[in-house]
């Protein structure tokens, strides 16, 4: 029993490629895992918001002004429009087009900076402080949570742009760009329910 199991080598995997893209790639699954974690966090924060809402007599409570629709509208529109270059970038990365990917990622960095600036302006128009009441705390929770993701994604995109412009791009880096683009789509999609809750829920209830 204690002896090494006998083995026989019956074939070789040497002919397999040393790279893959899309859902075949290992890192794609890691990325998906982290999206699940973040998505669960978002979903729970949204549940918490609705919970507090359901236990409040008025939403927003008397005395709180409604959040402004101006900058938030610009941000939302900009975020949705950013999906066009983002999906283009995704396609270029899949096609492994070096120059196009470099241009795309630079474009996404610039768009990210612009959106971040708009987001900061947006914070000035929430019209409630986080310490004012449960409503204010919940609004800020959702906004800060989403903004953190915009920031992180911007940082990642910028660093990736720097690398891509300074190095020869290999297969794995095209996959990395795919992951970044997918993550951006995730950030865009999760904004929609949050936008609805922060800006429209108080107007409906």
């Amino acid at each position: 029993m204690a002896t090494q199991k006998e083995v026989s080598v019956v074939g070789s995997l040497a002919d397999l490629p040393d790279h893959a893209n899309g859902a075949r790639h290992l890192v794609w699954w890691g990325n998906l895992g982290f999206m699940l974690i973040e998505g669960t966090g978002f979903a729970l924060a949204i549940a918490a918001y609705l919970y507090v809402l359901s236990h409040s007599s008025a939403w927003p409570p008397a005395g709180d002004a409604l959040p402004d629709l101006g900058w938030s509208g610009v941000f939302t529109l900009g975020l949705l429009l950013s999906e066009i270059p983002n999906l283009w970038l995704l396609r270029q990365a899949r096609a492994k087009k070096e120059q196009a990917v470099r241009i795309g990622i630079l474009l996404m960095t610039v768009i990210g900076v612009g959106l971040t600036v708009i987001r900061l302006l947006e914070f000035g128009h929430l019209n409630v402080r986080w310490s004012a009441d449960g409503y204010g705390s919940m609004v800020w929770l959702l906004m800060v949570l989403h903004t953190t993701h915009v920031f992180t994604e911007l940082g990642e995109t910028a660093v990736q742009a720097l690398w891509l412009f300074t190095h020869e791009v290999g297969d794995n880096q095209f996959s990395d760009v795919e992951d970044t683009a997918n993550y951006w789509t995730f950030v865009v999609l999760f904004w929609l329910p949050i936008y609805g809750l922060v800006y429209w829920m108080p107007r409906l209830s």
Partner: protein, 637 residues
């Protein structure tokens, strides 16, 4: 499945040497700090949890001494409250969950016939960050700023009005540390199990331990964000005056409990489900047959994983929620007894139809069934909403969850430790001392904790540092203390056996127990690259069904490579480059630790603390490739 004929790769011994060189760590301290070897990382994890288990055990013994007679002054109220807070937090956040991940980190690649995890550096990062969480709690304890609000820190008691100072924050940030570490480990585990199975190991041929780790990791992914969210909200209430949990200002206290238990209940199963994997592996090997009802086992593990998310309210039956909801949660909580009952049946049926061999790991299976079934049944009692009103927050519940967690997770863990010890060290543990420690631990545990059921029914509440002699709880408390001391003695013998066997144990050989899964095909201890070749699998028990074991070559010898295969059928897809050792996971963990600790004191730490983190992560992921020869930022000669 067809494969190319054997290529002209180097011969076995030369191949082994080259692989060893490719996967070698740097020597000395640098190698220690930079290693991404899953076995070294797991060993550290496990050693750390053993040390913490000892510390938490000492705390428990200290509490038992205080309670052995009424009105003792061994520990004052503050000391006692710190002791149970530290004991619970350590056991749940720093021992039980991490040790199960550690077992997965060590075992999953070996059971898959792989050389590494999907994300080796992420595993290193998990460990270092976990160490940060350990230090946060225990260095604080050394500095006498021990959290003293239990392992749950309900507001408003944990709010700044009733808990000034930083004890409460330390607990909350310790959670953040360990949860980030656990989440990272879980993603690693899921990706490895789903995408790195050897050719032929379809989902249907996956050993139950891998199913268990997969389900437990997915549960972590869906449950842990809840506790991170809720502790962050608590810190922000304390630090920047948000009012999430302030009822007078439109917040809600029970929101904390909902979010906490949305995590807290699944956590019990995240600890228990890997144990299901251990028990199944041990039962199969020592009954000399594969598990009865493999499909039923898999389905029940999945069912438990899903149901566990629908039960959290049964921790809140006394808070005054609507009765209809309580009835629903009662039914859901009781329903989980069905898959658990099926599992117990399958194990015993396997023993029944096999030929049991009474080695130490198998003894732990017996101890597990005796103890865990009792805990499960007392769990059925507490799951009833009306009856729970008499049981919750009493010693009945203390008895119940120790039966479940110690009987259902720690006993299987000790069995798993004895079972895989020869694989990890190349030595056998002493059977004689194994029997001794088993009898002392299981006997002492039952002697110590069974009386607590009765104490609870005699009206003794939890978390009291002393009690009035007229209540008549002394005798049973004395017995409980005695039993705990016996169990601790057994624990010390267990650890001593493990240490001494490193030198004195008989050489194990690769497969001392005649195991059925792939890890037994590696040598003991496995070389750093685990396997020279990639195994091919044609059944759930490849070492029993194949002779000789079929292997494939072709996965990198002079470059770190692992095989990536398809999700369901495990068809080989490509060879993935595997990460080199790196110092950056450690530095990133240090940067994250600085931010977490800083944010106890000032919210600005989140801002300036994120810069070093960004730097460390950038360096970590910075691909090493030639400089560009085109474009505006090309290298200029």
């Amino acid at each position: 499945m067809t494969f190319a004929l054997q290529s002209n790769e180097p011969k076995t011994s030369e191949r082994h040497a080259r692989l060893a060189q490719t996967w070698a760590d740097a020597p000395g301290i640098w190698g220690f700090l930079t290693t991404v070897d899953h076995k070294r990382i797991a060993a550290r994890y496990i050693l750390t949890t053993v040390v913490l288990l000892f510390a938490a055990g000492m705390l428990a013994l200290h509490m038992r001494l205080q309670l052995s007679f009424p009105e003792l002054k061994v520990l004052g109220p503050q000391g006692y409250n710190e002791a149970f807070s530290l004991h619970g937090s350590t056991m749940l956040f720093l021992v039980s969950v991490p040790v199960m991940e550690a077992m997965g980190i060590w075992l999953v690649p070996l059971m898959l016939g792989q050389r590494a995890l999907a994300f080796p550096r992420l595993a290193a990062f998990s460990f270092w960050l976990y160490v940060g969480g350990v230090m946060t709690l225990w260095v604080s304890h050394a500095l006498d700023i021990t959290p003293d609000l239990g392992w749950f820190e309900y507001p408003p008691l944990s709010g700044s009005a009733y808990s000034p100072g930083h004890r409460a924050d330390i607990w909350a940030q310790m959670i953040t540390f360990t949860e980030v570490a656990a989440l990272a480990a879980s993603v690693n585990m899921v990706a490895t199990i789903l995408k790195m199975r050897p050719p032929g190991m379809t989902l249907a041929r996956m050993p139950l331990f891998l199913w268990a780790m997969l389900v437990a990791s997915l549960m972590t992914i869906f449950a842990m964000p809840a506790v991170m969210l809720v502790t962050s909200m608590l810190i922000s209430d304390r630090l920047v005056s948000t009012v999430f949990f302030a009822p007078t200002q439109g917040g809600d206290i029970l929101l904390f409990q909902h979010l906490f238990w949305f995590f807290g209940h699944p956590e019990v199963y995240m600890i228990f489900i890997p144990a299901v994997g251990f028990i199944t592996a041990i039962v199969e090997t020592f009954s000399r047959r594969t598990i009865v009802g493999h499909t039923a086992m898999v389905l029940s593990v999945v069912a438990i994983g899903v149901l566990a998310f629908g039960l959290w309210v049964h921790h809140m039956f006394a808070v005054g929620l609507p009765k209809l909801g309580n009835s629903f949660f009662t039914a859901a909580s009781l329903a989980i007894a069905l898959p658990a009952g099926i599992q117990v049946f399958c194990w015993i049926a396997t023993i029944w139809s096999g030929r049991p061999q009474f080695y130490t790991p198998f003894l732990w299976v017996i101890g597990f069934i005796i103890t865990f079934v009792m805990g499960g049944l007392s769990g059925v009692m507490t799951a009833s909403a009306p009856l729970d009103l008499q049981l919750t927050d009493t010693y009945f519940v203390v008895a119940h969850f120790h039966y479940v967690l110690v009987g259902g997770a720690i006993f299987p863990l000790l069995g798993a430790f004895c079972y895989w010890y020869p694989k990890a060290t190349g030595r056998m543990m002493s059977e004689r001392w194994g029997w001794a420690s088993f009898l002392l631990i299981v006997g002492g545990f039952n002697l110590g904790f069974f009386p607590m059921h009765i104490l609870g029914l005699m009206g003794m509440p939890r978390r009291v540092y002393t009690y009035d002699p007229s209540l008549g709880w002394s005798t049973l408390n004395m017995v409980a203390t005695l039993g705990s001391a016996i169990a601790v003695l057994g624990g010390l013998i267990f650890v001593a056996n493990a240490f001494l066997s490193l030198w004195r144990g008989a050489p194990a050989g690769p497969d001392p127990w005649g195991g059925s899964t792939l890890e037994w095909a590696a040598s003991s201890p496995p070389p750093q690259h685990n396997f020279d070749y990639t195994p091919v699998v044609n059944s759930i028990a490849p070492l029993w069904s194949e002779d000789p074991l079929r292997m494939l070559d072709g996965v990198g010898v002079s470059r770190r490579e692992v095989l990536v295969s398809s999700l369901a059928e495990a068809h080989p897809e490509y060879r993935q480059k595997s990460a080199q050792p790196s110092i950056w996971p450690l530095l990133a963990a240090i940067a994250v630790s600085i931010m977490f600790i800083g944010s106890i004191f000032t919210p600005w730490a989140v801002v300036w603390g994120s810069l070093p983190i960004a730097g460390a992560l950038t360096a970590w992921f910075w691909p090493q490739r030639p400089r560009s020869k085109t474009g505006p930022l090309r290298v200029r000669v």
